[in-house]
């Protein structure tokens, strides 16, 4: 699971990496909205092609996206089972005993799978190309106007970026504990239900203990360096929009408009 890639920053040198985090966040939101406009397979096809181009420009590999997608497969299988039991639209595909699988069930699952894939492609393009620190700055600036009505923009941004920052660490930690317990004969794959529950407990308890430990260490380290939430802070880096950022904004707006257009025309 050192291979677990969801939310992990990839230190590469690409035009996407250089873009302004604020604009990347806005673009991501626009793209996510585009997904939820019902533009059918043509719409998804367009978004897929565009995102593939972005991924290639960002020098990310498709294997990377696939690995991020993998943990979701289990969920999708589960969904397929539920859909198969519930959905009775479309043509019947085959019948076993009293159970009939309809094409609607498959289509609906496929629809969700495609949306999920696109969502992962889009969010990965943001998280893999934006340093956690830049992400904080970006979120904070975007929430800035809300400060006037009392929204703690800085704290929210810090919270989000710490959470993002810790995902890979927690995954590494899970893997380490898993290895340690496997050395003591825990079998994560085989075994009875009772053994499996034991296996999961042997993983979760140490994970929580170390997560709390980590949280405490981080809090102490931040306080030791004078961090106090709510206090005014100076910035080492200020964000500035460049031409490429406006291109990004224009591009994602185009996609959104196209999606709306396609959904109306079809």
């Amino acid at each position: 699971m050192g291979n677990f890639t969801l939310g992990r920053y990839m230190p590469l040198d690409s035009p996407i990496h250089k873009m302004d985090p604020r604009m990347k966040i806005i673009a991501m939101l626009l793209m996510l909205i585009s997904i939820f406009i019902n533009a059918g397979w043509i719409g998804y096809g367009i978004i897929f092609v565009v995102m593939s181009c972005v991924i290639m420009t960002a020098k990310l590999s498709f294997r990377f996206i696939w690995k991020a997608m993998k943990p979701m497969l289990f969920m999708l299988c589960f969904l397929l089972v539920i859909n198969a039991l519930v959905v009775t639209t479309g043509v019947p595909l085959f019948t076993i005993g009293s159970f009939t699988l309809y094409s609607g069930a498959v289509m609906q699952t496929l629809y969700i799978a495609v949306r999920l894939l696109l969502m992962i492609m889009i969010t990965t393009c943001l998280t893999a190309t934006t340093k956690p620190m830049d992400m904080t700055l970006g979120i904070e600036d975007l929430l800035g106007p809300l400060k006037k009505i009392g929204v703690p923009a800085h704290e929210i941004a810090m919270l989000i970026s710490i959470a993002l920052r810790f995902i890979p660490d927690l995954i590494d930690e899970t893997q380490r504990i898993m290895k340690a317990q496997q050395s003591r004969g825990v079998d994560m794959q085989e075994g009875t239900i009772k053994e499996k529950v034991g296996a999961i407990l042997s993983l979760i308890v140490p994970l929580f203990v170390s997560a709390f430990q980590r949280a405490e260490d981080l809090a102490n380290a931040m306080e030791a360096r004078g961090y106090a939430p709510g206090e005014p802070r100076t910035r080492y880096r200020t964000l500035k929009f460049h031409a490429r950022d406006y291109i990004l904004l224009g591009g994602s707006l185009c996609i959104l408009v196209t999606m709306i257009g396609v959904s109306i025309l079809l």
């Binding site: 230190p11 590999s61 380490r176 340690a180 004969g185 079998d187 170390s210």
Partner: protein, 286 residues
């Protein structure tokens, strides 16, 4: 021949910018019944190497023979559990693996996983805790309320209770007090000499290597730099310098004495013998 590495390589996070080849064509044979030290700089690949011994990490290239198992790169091995019962691995910071409500339950967790009955597992746990120097008063405590060093001992006991044939320890004494360190090293020595277990120990402490280990393996940059008898290695001051390793204090003292006109033989094994020898030679010249 219980352990043999043939041209083993391991790559972390292959295909990402974090890709790192931690082992580069390792060839290594470790004889049965020996106590072997694995040394090398931080990040040289020691932990990666030892995690191959119970197939927690699988080779990306090459072949590993362990006891009666052969693990070949590219093949997915089955039934690894039985191997893990025979090769006990204590991790670098094993205190994080504790999770049961009581110390005794946690130590009994390993043997129970390998099909030992509840009663027998508890018995084995008690013996193992006794071996690592934790008395009755600790049995019913929560592992979370122990000190770091005590947790370490519980974790080591957790592996000992499985009674493995091969014992692999990744820096087991890091962070223990001197008395605890000595006690642990004596314990590992006893397991090796009296119970004939093959012991591999990753360490940064040359005094330990010199005092307790038969052989020494030096890992550098993911490769085996040297493998041979520990005593002979430390005798060879030029080789030590070449490997960038400071020999143990006894050897350094002896070399310094010899450079200043003494003639201390190389079979002097501890400071008492050295002191006696110095006295003898001083008297003779006196």
């Amino acid at each position: 021949m219980p352990i043999q590495f043939e041209n083993v390589s391991h790559v972390y996070s292959a295909g990402t910018p974090y890709q790192y080849q931690a082992l580069k064509g390792i060839n290594l044979k470790i004889a049965e019944g020996k106590m072997t030290a694995v040394i090398g700089e931080t990040g040289s690949g020691k932990s990666t190497l030892v995690q191959h011994l119970n197939a927690l990490l699988l080779p990306d290239e090459g072949k590993i023979r362990i006891l009666d198992r052969v693990i070949v790169a590219g093949e997915k091995p089955k039934k690894l559990k039985s191997l893990r019962g025979k090769v006990g691995l204590v991790f670098q910071f094993p205190e994080y693996q504790l999770f049961e409500e009581t110390v005794i339950k946690d130590v009994a967790f390993g043997p129970k996983n390998f099909g030992v009955s509840e009663q027998e597992a508890v018995l084995k746990a008690k013996q193992a805790l006794h071996l690592v120097g934790l008395g009755e008063e600790f049995f019913e405590k929560s592992p979370l309320e122990l000190s770091g060093g005590q947790k370490r001992r519980v974790a080591i006991a957790g592996i000992l209770a499985m009674d493995p044939k091969v014992l692999v320890l990744d820096e087991p004494t890091a962070g223990l007090d001197p008395a605890g360190t000595k006690m642990m090293m004596r314990l590992f020595e006893r397991l090796n000499k009296e119970m004939h277990k093959t012991v591999l120990i990753v360490t940064h402490d040359m005094e330990q290597v010199f005092a307790y280990c038969d052989d020494v393996v030096i890992v550098a940059d993911g490769k085996i730099r040297m493998h041979g008898p520990a005593k002979k290695f430390f005798e060879d001051s030029r080789l030590c310098k070449e490997m960038n390793i400071l020999p143990p204090a006894l050897i350094r003292t002896r070399d310094a004495l010899n450079q200043n006109g003494f003639e201390i033989p190389s079979d002097i094994a501890d400071i008492h013998a050295l002191a006696k020898e110095i006295r003898k030679q001083v008297k003779r010249h006196g």
